[in-house]
């Protein structure tokens, strides 16, 4: 049961979206334009289409959903209280949490927090479900590994200091506080 429904205004479909054959022409036009633009730049000894990975890296926009990570607060602890909502929301069931009790006022923390990255599909539902802003989608996408075991990320590996995630958090605030 939704608590409140936010209606998102959608722009009216353009002429090309309404006429499929026109869309084909538009697509061809875009490709042709890019071809000549690139060819022109290349002839002048410049490039705008290749990123020389790994020396160069492309900084993805904050809307990008890379691997989910856990927020580490300035006191060194995780923000997560092991409420289990991300575990419930996750469509691939790749999150495993075992809660435990702390002596401080927070009462609860995840003793175990594992994400099986080989199953994660970067949908971001965990981030959306979290009531504590404790799990966010980072820009990290370089997570290949040599073994299945390596694709299982534990809490210690998932924790990222909060200030490194500020861009994404600001982005989220812009959307949810609207």
């Amino acid at each position: 049961m939704p608590v409140g429904v936010i209606k998102v205004a959608r722009p009216a479909p353009t002429l090309a979206q309404r006429r499929p054959w026109l869309a084909l022409l538009v697509g061809l036009w875009v490709a042709t334009r890019h071809f000549f633009q690139s060819a022109f730049l290349f002839a002048r000894g410049r490039q705008n289409f290749t990123v020389h990975f790994p020396e160069q890296r492309f900084l993805q926009p904050p809307a990008m959903r890379g691997m989910p990570v856990l927020v580490r607060m300035s006191n060194g602890k995780e923000r997560c209280v092991a409420c289990g909502l991300c575990e419930w929301a996750c469509p691939t069931s790749c999150i495993t949490i075992f809660p435990a009790e702390t002596a401080d006022g927070v009462e609860r923390y995840p003793e175990v927090f594992d994400i099986d990255m080989s199953r994660c599909m970067f949908c971001g539902l965990c981030e959306e479900a979290c009531p504590e802003e404790a799990i966010v989608m980072s820009r990290q996408v370089e997570i290949a590994c040599y073994s299945r075991r390596g694709s299982l990320w534990h809490k210690e590996d998932l924790l990222v200091p909060r200030d490194q995630l500020q861009t994404r958090l600001d982005y989220l605030h812009r959307h949810y506080d609207a």
Binding site: V3, V81, W88
Partner: protein
């Protein structure tokens, strides 16, 4: 039987016995009326004010829990005024409620959450800081109290006064400062965790379940508590093939909506590390793990050889009162096929009270008696022990560990060591059983289907909550296969079919089927064979 009266609720006519609280009549008719303080098994308090409805002829809304039904009453529950009132009541309850849902054990089955979502306003209008009270207060051996979460419905207070009669809890102070607490006596009664069940919010929490598992992950299976002969109806909460909690299930003929703390916390034995994992046979002086087929073959061979040499009457049998009726029936058939004459079903006895807890600490001692596996006031124990001590019985088919719980260890040890052949079927291997010829691992109540007979002769059904390992044979199947091997005829173990056979063969169960037991159970034909 009270006269039946007719009430019109939202245009539909319902019938209820005169004097029934209007709320109960509406709930019985399947209407969903929000309420907190009303509980069918406790006195009426009328403190939460959430159950208000419009009654024709009354100037103001009335609380439906404290209004008995009257003939011709016309009730409306869907008017704007009722909706506004519910919203107002919820707003007041939420005024000082902490934002604890992410760390609260009740989240997911909390009535404040549910009703706030459905009938609340979704927005808080206050900016003032919320009231601070005690959190995580250690109020009992098994209970915690969070005073901030309490909505002062006083269900727990009434439970302790009316059901257990111990009265540990009370609401202290007045008005806005009211808070729930204990007197100097801690909440340690035998049923203390029931207060966590009836608490509509997460104010009272069981220490055992505290921060252990989210309720929405649990798969709930109806079952019967194996703790004592009362056979309280329960739900098993399972996830990842292990039990996380047991909760009582309402059955007015057995346990109302309660269960004792001991029974509730007695759920770890199915996942005990010392449980047997595979069948074993004696090999060169010690026990070695073998496949089920090998163990069954060996067991049948040993029994056949022994019976051929000494006759069936020199074999004794101990039936476990933890087995289901169907399994006991098959065991009886196996014993008959062997010609066994002496059998016992020893039951450990312990503390009891006059609420639920019974002295016999097993779920199906009555079933063993009704099926003739235990005779006499001592359940056949004396005859069996005498038989072994005099040398008349030279072999023993021993099911369960119960024998070691009723006999002094030295005596049990002596009895076992004087036997020529011991076949053991149980959960764990005790040192006294190292001389057994064949050992079969047994299955717990949570891993099988079937029925138990409680102290009053009520036959109640259990369902499987945990999956045994692939290829695992439950106790009934072991008996069936052994009987097949010994008599040649093919025997399978399907609880419903065995129940049918049992109904045809054993008078107390005649006319019953497993299906018919449903979730509430049915009394056996001639009641309990209570000693």
């Amino acid at each position: 039987m009270a006269r039946s009266v007719r009430v019109t609720v939202d245009g539909a006519v319902l019938e209820a016995p005169e004097g029934t609280p209007l709320l109960q009549a509406m709930l019985d008719a399947g209407l969903d009326i929000p309420h907190y303080c009303y509980h069918p098994k406790l006195s009426i308090d009328g403190s939460c004010r959430l159950c208000q409805v419009e009654i024709e002829g009354m100037p103001k809304l009335q609380i439906s829990c404290y209004t008995p039904v009257r003939d011709g009453m016309v009730v409306r529950t869907q008017t704007p005024e009722v909706a506004r009132t519910r919203q107002g009541v919820l707003e007041l309850l939420l005024l000082n409620h902490p934002l604890d849902c992410p760390i609260c054990d009740k989240a997911g089955e909390c009535w404040l959450q549910n009703y706030a979502f459905r009938f609340g306003s979704h927005f808080a209008r206050t900016v003032e800081p919320r009231r601070k009270h005690g959190k995580r207060l250690d109020i009992g051996e098994r209970m915690l109290l969070d005073q901030e979460r309490c909505i002062l419905c006083r269900r727990c207070v009434r439970f302790c006064r009316e059901i257990t009669g111990t009265g540990e809890l009370a609401v202290f102070k007045l008005g806005d400062r009211s808070l729930l607490d204990i007197y100097d006596q801690r909440l340690d009664n035998d049923y203390s965790i029931c207060t966590a069940d009836i608490c509509p919010v997460g104010a009272l929490e069981s220490k055992d379940f505290h921060h252990r598992m989210r309720v929405w992950f649990l798969r709930e299976t109806a079952s019967v508590c194996p703790g004592c002969a009362n056979g309280c109806n329960i739900m098993i909460g399972e996830r990842g093939n292990r039990i996380w909690r047991l909760t009582p299930r309402r059955n007015d003929a057995v346990n109302d909506t309660w269960m004792c703390d001991w029974g509730r916390l007695n759920y770890s034995f199915p996942q005990a590390p010392q449980r047997l994992l595979s069948p074993m046979v004696a090999e060169g002086g010690r026990l070695a793990a073998v496949s089920w087929e090998q163990a069954l073959e060996r067991c049948a061979a040993e029994l056949r050889r022994f019976v051929a040499r000494h006759g069936g009457s020199s074999v004794g049998a101990v039936a476990s009162p933890h087995l289901t009726n169907e399994e006991l029936f098959r065991f009886g058939q196996l014993l008959a096929a062997l010609g066994v004459e002496t059998s016992a079903a020893p039951v450990r006895r312990g503390r009891f009270d006059n609420l639920l807890i019974k002295a016999e600490k097993a779920a199906n001692a009555a079933g063993a008696r009704l099926l003739g596996l235990a005779r006499g006031s001592d359940d056949g124990l004396k005859a069996l022990c005498d038989g072994i001590e005099r040398g008349r019985l030279k072999a023993l088919y021993l099911c369960g560990e119960d024998l070691f719980e009723v006999l002094v260890p030295e005596r049990a040890q002596r009895l076992l060591s004087s036997l020529e052949l011991v076949i053991f079927q149980g959960l764990a291997l005790l040192p006294a059983l190292s001389g057994a010829a064949v050992v079969f691992p047994a299955t717990t109540f949570a891993e099988k289907e079937g029925s138990f007979t409680n102290h009053a002769g009520r036959v109640q059904r259990i369902w499987r909550a945990l999956q045994p390992a692939p290829g695992w044979l439950c106790d009934g199947e072991i008996f069936s296969r052994l009987r097949s091997a010994l008599c040649g005829e093919r025997d399978t173990f399907d609880p419903a079919e065995v129940f049918q056979e049992m109904a045809a063969a054993a008078a107390p169960f005649s006319g019953l089927t497993l299906e018919q037991l449903g979730t509430a159970g049915v009394p056996a034909a001639n009641g309990a064979a209570a000693p």
